[in-house]
């Protein structure tokens, strides 16, 4: 375990050197200013809170997912391209440990981005509403879990594909997984839709992780109470998919000639 943690620290620092945190900082500044900006143009209509939260959380969600896809898809292919993988995998180290180290580094960067941005939004909202807006963190935590699953899937793809293909496949999984099943059936079974497409889409939907269950923004913003232990169930679901993806990645990577 020490080896995995030291290796993941190395990859984490490598990603920090790519200066992705600058994009996070930039977005953080926007989120700091967003509620005040929206408030200034609300012309007395007291809706700035909902608009700011909605817009801010959407920004955080898509930025975080995009960042995770980019980092996870490029991590292993870059290492192979630079050949820095050779002296590492020539050591008495399992390939599963190597993949896990890359995954942990990616997730650590994602977590930092997600929670830093959530903090920025929470602080700026709280300053205007004069109350702690901590429910922002609940929504962002669910988005982070979603990003963690997508990262694991992207890493699995990147064990046999280049970074661009892995990122594309990861994006497809994210889009299909996020789309509610009913919505997909509505479009595909509508005019011009074929039964075959519907079957394929339904099968894909059943095979891929259901990411729509992580969309907590609407229920939280509309003041709905989440069932008790809902976040716990979400976490367990995410951990299951992450473990499966890392295992799948290991099986694929073990077969690969480097």
């Amino acid at each position: 375990m020490t080896a995995v943690l030291r290796l993941s620290r190395l990859y984490f620092l490598g990603k920090v050197r790519q200066q992705v945190h600058l994009a996070t900082l930039f977005l953080g500044v926007i989120l700091f200013m967003l509620p005040a900006y929206v408030n200034a143009f609300s012309l007395g209509v007291n809706a700035f809170e909902k608009i700011s939260k909605d817009f801010g959380l959407t920004l955080i969600h898509y930025f975080g997912i995009g960042l995770s896809i980019l980092l996870a898809s490029s991590s292993i292919p870059n290492d192979i391209e630079k050949r820095s993988v050779y002296p590492i995998l020539a050591r008495p180290l399992n390939r599963s440990q190597y993949i896990t180290a890359h995954y942990l580094a990616t997730v650590a960067i994602s977590a930092m981005s997600f929670f830093f941005l959530a903090g920025c939004l929470c602080l700026s909202m709280s300053a205007l509403t004069k109350a702690w807006e901590l429910n922002v963190f609940t929504v962002v935590f669910a988005s982070f879990l979603q990003a963690a699953i997508v990262s694991a899937i992207c890493i699995a793809f990147s064990t046999f594909a280049g970074s661009s293909l892995a990122a594309t496949l990861g994006t497809v999984v994210f889009l299909l997984g996020s789309l509610p099943g009913a919505l997909m059936r509505f479009f595909l079974a509508g005019k011009g839709g074929s039964n075959l497409m519907l079957i394929v889409a339904t099968l894909l939907k059943a095979t891929l992780p259901n990411l729509s269950i992580f969309a907590l923004k609407e229920p939280i913003l509309s003041g709905q109470a989440l069932p008790s232990n809902y976040l716990g169930s979400l976490s367990a679901y995410a951990i299951g998919w992450i473990a499966f993806s890392i295992l799948f990645a290991t099986v694929l990577f073990n077969r690969r000639d480097l």
């Binding site: 620290r9 190395l10 620092l13 630079k82 002296p87 590492i88 008495p92 180290l93 480097l258």
Partner: protein, 308 residues
């Protein structure tokens, strides 16, 4: 008789590419004795890198087996005995030499309380003890190669695998690294040294193998590989100024009145004995043997490579 550090037994490896199947190794058999510096030569595409990758467990052979001190290559036991320096590696240059070395030591299974000492020792052995806290991006190419050797030896390996160690270095840096290798050999390490620089191999290696188109062309100790072609060049001044008598050699008169011949090394003693009484003095006696480079060119003909 030394034991085998590495054994390749009928190793075959084929790659699939858009142009079809490429047979990188066609049944390679090779034994590398323990405690030696072993030179591995061959033209580009001969199968050197494939052999090295199989040896260090980065790829698996399609057929045959490779063992490292009796353990199957790719196994944890085999990997823990190997220190590997790949041909071109971009290290994580934002880290200091000590930090990165500590990570490699951890990955090699060195206990946490010994890591700092092992790192200092490895850097000292490669002459980088004054650069411990420097970032790798501040290192010259020669220093990076030295660091590469440090990362290879930090895990206490018994076998060092070095792929094109001196490639792209200036002559001084090359000479320094070769000296370092002989020092490491003296400390008991077996060194597997792949290089395009045949003079380097000739200079420091105890045994050598030449591979071409996935098959072994020759292997053995340097003397075995070069030995058959050793010749002696002898120049004598005769007492009477006439050509020496006898059938052991063909003589040629030189411009200064001396007589010159080139004979096999094994015939030297007999020839010198036969010259007793005829010769005023031996002007010059030189041993000359075919260089590894000449043997390499003979064993790896270009037209053969072009046909394949």
């Amino acid at each position: 008789m030394s034991t085998a550090a590495v054994k390749f037994e009928s190793v075959k490896k084929t790659y699939k590419s858009r142009q079809g199947r490429i047979e990188a190794l066609k049944g390679l058999d090779l034994v590398i004795p323990e405690g030696q510096i072993f030179g591995f030569a061959g033209p580009n595409g001969a199968g050197k890198s494939t052999s090295i990758k199989i040896l260090v467990g980065l790829i698996r052979p399609d057929e045959g087996a490779v063992t490292v001190f009796g353990h199957p290559s790719g196994s944890k036991a085999a990997k823990s005995l190997i220190g590997f320096l790949p041909e071109v590696t971009l290290y994580h240059e934002f880290m200091s030499a000590k930090e990165l070395l500590a990570i490699h030591a951890t990955l090699s299974g060195i206990p946490a309380n010994e890591i700092a000492g092992k790192c200092e020792e490895a850097l000292e052995r490669v002459g980088l003890s004054d650069r411990v806290n420097y970032r790798l991006k501040e290192f010259s190419k020669g220093m990076k190669q030295r660091f590469g050797i440090a990362q290879a030896i930090v895990g206490n390996p018994k076998l060092l695998v070095l792929d094109e160690l001196t490639s792209g270095l200036d002559p001084k840096a090359q000479a320094e690294l070769l000296t370092l290798l002989t020092e490491l050999k003296a400390q008991g390490l077996t060194i597997f040294f792949s290089s395009h620089h045949l003079r380097e191999i000739e200079k420091i290696c105890d045994s050598v193998a030449i591979i071409h188109q996935g098959t072994l062309r020759t292997s053995g100790t340097l003397d075995e590989v070069l030995g058959e072609d050793v010749t002696v060049s002898l120049k004598v001044m005769t007492k009477d100024g006439q050509e020496p008598k006898g059938e052991l050699a063909q003589w040629r008169r030189d411009s200064d009145g001396g007589f010159l011949t080139i004979i096999k090394k094994s015939e030297t003693l007999a020839l010198i004995q036969s010259l007793e009484g005829q010769v005023e003095r031996i002007h010059n006696l030189e041993t000359r043997r075919q260089s590894l480079e000449e043997i390499f060119h003979r064993m790896t003909p270009k037209e053969e490579a072009e046909k394949s």
